[in-house]
């Protein structure tokens, strides 16, 4: 018993470092998902038929394929097998390096997937705003992109925070999957230590607690943001 406590204490700093990598992965994926998801939502609502079609296809693909498949496909099928990408352009030999760390590949795959889900969160939020908001902005002579940027998005993003919280906790759990690429985050490190010491219970319980803690802190933060940005007089905005 004393021995196992000792092992856990020794391994903890290394595992906590893994937790930081997990947090970094989730943060990067959330942000990538945000920066792609917002324009996708806008394109899906205000875009022409071609734009809407392409975005719908993207969303359909990333929602339909398991993350595990996407991770293998992207990392081994693309980054590993096709690297370096060689082709000739106007008679010139070109070579593009696709080399990516497992960490970067994980952030990209999770981010692209999250973009699909986040775009639907934002789309729902934009659609829930009264149509009169855009009408009033247009009636004042605003360009559509000005109206979207300064009237629609500030309101829609507020409405998106609860959905975003949901996406955060799902993404955090999905991030455990990237251990299959050899990204040494919380799950991968826990597994390594648990296997080598045979202290399975202790290490997996500690991993569960750490995931729980990260979820809890993140959700508290978003809840705070939701309250902080609430518009006076409204219960829902």
């Amino acid at each position: 018993m004393q021995e196992s406590i000792l092992t856990i204490c020794e391994a903890m700093p290394w595992i906590l470092e893994g937790a930081l990598i997990t947090i970094g992965t989730v943060a990067a994926a959330m942000l990538l998902g945000l920066f792609l998801g917002v324009p996708m939502a806008i394109g899906q609502i205000y875009g022409n038929a071609a734009t809407r079609g392409v975005i719908a296809l993207y969303v359909w693909f990333f929602r339909g394929v398991p993350i595990l498949v996407l991770l293998y496909l992207f990392y081994f099928g693309l980054v590993y097998q096709l690297n370096p990408l060689e082709f000739s352009l106007f008679g010139m030999q070109c070579s593009i390096s696709l080399a990516l760390s497992p960490f970067a590949a994980s952030c990209i795959v999770l981010g692209l997937t999250s973009a699909a889900y986040q775009s639907q969160i934002f789309r729902g939020a934009i659609n829930s705003l009264p149509s009169g908001q855009l009408k009033a902005a247009r009636a004042l002579g605003m360009r559509d992109f000005e109206a979207i940027a300064s009237i629609i998005l500030p309101q829609a993003l507020r409405l998106s925070i609860p959905g975003w919280s949901n996406e955060y906790s799902i993404l955090l759990k999905d991030s455990a999957l990237v251990s299959v690429l050899g990204a040494m985050e919380l799950m991968a490190r826990t597994k390594a230590v648990a296997t080598s010491t045979a202290e399975y219970t202790a290490f997996y319980v500690s991993a569960a607690l750490l995931y729980f803690l990260i979820t809890w802190i993140g959700l508290r933060g978003l809840r705070y943001a939701e309250k902080n940005f609430r518009i006076p007089g409204y219960s829902h905005l």
Binding site: Q133, A136, A137, R138, L140, G141, M142, E146, L237
Partner: protein, 256 residues
């Protein structure tokens, strides 16, 4: 005022037609409003008043017909021209459509910054001036959800006025208001009329129309079926559709 401006309507609509969902909603509507005039659109629900008003600033694109602003034809394909049309034609909506995430003052100033490219400071000052004009300078920092319906509509009026429009379209500006709040909004509009603002207004407020309209246009099923000065359409004993419509409104009101 010289002869030429006297003869050019501020806003002219020629033969506007519109179908929605395969159904004709507006057919062949024409209207000219001259400086300082107030045209009043009345008619039963579904007559097409809102649709027509929104055609006048191209929030809805008409299928046929044309618009002239100060005698200049607006080409609908030119986005810049459409925006300039909307900048110069103000609009007041039945349900206010204030920007919910902005204070009263920001509601008024935002288009000054985004469209008229004023500095934030100048825009805020101008917004304050317009709020003052509708008696709301002390509410400048409040959000729409913190205002009464009448106050919201007055902010909307200030927002439209800040753009220095040449004509204002008002779509039943008092219909969504509790009866006790109608008066303050009508007073603000009356003040505009007194100041010589050109307006086209859909309303069911008979006394208001009788007192201020230069012309009443009675719409039904997407067409103007009667038009004339209030004195003739609403003369005691006049057998007009307008008279009958108002008589029914009054009867309904006293029934409930």
């Amino acid at each position: 005022m010289n002869e030429a401006t006297q003869q050019t309507p501020v806003l002219e609509a020629r033969n506007i037609g519109k179908s929605l969902g395969g159904r004709p909603i507006l057919s062949d509507l024409s209207l000219s409003v001259y400086k300082g005039e107030m045209k009043v659109l009345i008619g039963p629900s579904g007559a097409g008043k809102s649709t027509f008003l929104q055609c006048l600033n191209h929030l809805i694109t008409p299928d046929t017909g044309e618009l002239l602003l100060n005698g200049e034809r607006i080409s609908p394909a030119n986005k810049g021209e459409l925006r300039s049309l909307r900048e110069r034609v103000g609009m007041i909506f039945q349900d206010f459509n204030l920007f919910d995430h902005l204070t009263a003052q920001e509601n008024v100033s935002i288009a000054l910054v985004k469209v008229k490219k004023m500095s934030r400071r100048d825009a805020s000052l101008r917004a304050m001036m317009e709020l003052e004009r509708v008696g709301l300078s002390r509410r400048a920092g409040l959000y729409p959800a913190e205002l009464s319906g009448g106050q919201k509509q007055r902010v909307a009026i200030a927002r439209a006025l800040a753009m220095d429009p040449e004509v204002i379209l008002l779509d039943e500006p008092t219909s969504a208001l509790d009866p006790e709040l109608v008066g303050e909004v009508l007073a603000a509009i009356r003040e505009l009329a007194r100041g010589g603002m050109t307006m086209i207004m859909a309303t069911h407020q008979m006394d208001f129309a009788r007192a201020l309209a230069t012309e009443i246009l009675f719409m039904e099923k997407g067409a103007i079926i009667e038009r004339g000065a209030p004195a003739s359409l609403l003369a005691p004993g006049a057998k007009t559709r307008t008279q009958a419509f108002f008589a029914r409104l009054v009867a309904e009101e006293s029934a409930c």
